[in-house]
Amino acid sequence: MSSTMKLLGAMPPPGKPATIAELARAAGLERKPTVRAVDTLRRNGLAERVELGRYKLTAAGKLAREKGRPIKSGPKGPHTGRRKPNAKTTFRDRLWAALRLLKKASIPELIVIAGAGTARDPASGARLFLKRLERAGYVARLPKREAGSAPGSTGFLRWLLLKDTGPGTPRWSRARRDLYDPNLDAVAGKENADAARP
């Protein structure tokens, strides 16, 4: 059981608001974990400081204790924030950079420049990304394919970049079924429910 849950069980009421030392004794914890656990409960609105150095549960805290609701770390709401500017580069970021560099290329050419990195199936990933971009009007298929070497191969499709909006990678949202372009700060292409599958 986590320190926070132990503390939730030991917090007053019943009894008068307690100090950190009293709470630590009651929950069987050291002082530092008790301080952190009180902070967690307060951040979640389950505990409050009644006067300097004395704490008790709120009504929500009492309800959480009665229902045995676990208190976990992790997101408290939907992910609606923008991607951090220094977020790690993904395979799709490198694909987009490669597409901007080459202007027109086949999937193998894009993968060579972008580097597969740790992508499990770079060719499939690239294919899906390009299909999304095609639907939004960012790329178009060139009529001539790159010759393949396998027997019976029809060759590799070649793609032409039509809309180079900037270095930010256009991102597909599975929930909204649209393509968000961070360079334009706008949605670029939306799919209806019937055309959902690539």
Partner: protein, 242 residues
Amino acid sequence: MKHNFVQTANIERFLAASGALDNRGAPEACILLVDGVPGLGKSHAGKWWAAQKGAVLIRVKAAATPHWVLNDLVKELGEQAPAYSCENLFAQAVGSLAKSPRPIVVDEVEAALHDMRTIETLRDLSDLLEVPLIFIGREFVYGRLQRYKQFTTRIGARTTFAPATLEDATKCFADLCECPVEPAVVAAVHKMSEGHIREIVKAIKNVERIGLRNKGKKVALADIAGKSLCAEVHKAAGHKAA
């Protein structure tokens, strides 16, 4: 073909030179010059490096002017509304690069030599922001730049691309070809290609086609006899069976 970028001797020298630029003593000596005859993979190496490093790459057009180059640079940096005047374009480029410094790769730099203001504009940017500037161009670029001391003192590193060696060709086959080949085939392809990496890659594709048709058997000299592996017709393989 396997989707790998082959690190030939030229690429290793290029990476060593770009590393040397990072450790340069004088902050303004931030130009890396990559030169060589056409067909040795300089532009391809520049694109790969730019993708790996998050650098911005611009290709100088034959009729380039400072305005054109700045306009291309600002668009590559992601500005949605490039400014009208040269002065404002320069300010936009400085603003964007100051916020997120990235190296600038300039391909086909020989096209800018007819109007030194174009190259001087790039030098002004690099002097101000101390971002690495990678010039990729033909074999005569260094000779022409030597007339201008303000450039030669700023070239922190230089690498010349040479024709691919037999070791490079062997590495290309190992990294790209999906079927085994005999060393004699590699030697034959290297001779046919005359060290042009583009021709070696084309030949690998053709050799691979032959190998896959033979159910992955090792490709021997006899299998490629009489076949044109490289692009030009006059380079048709005229090897007799061993």
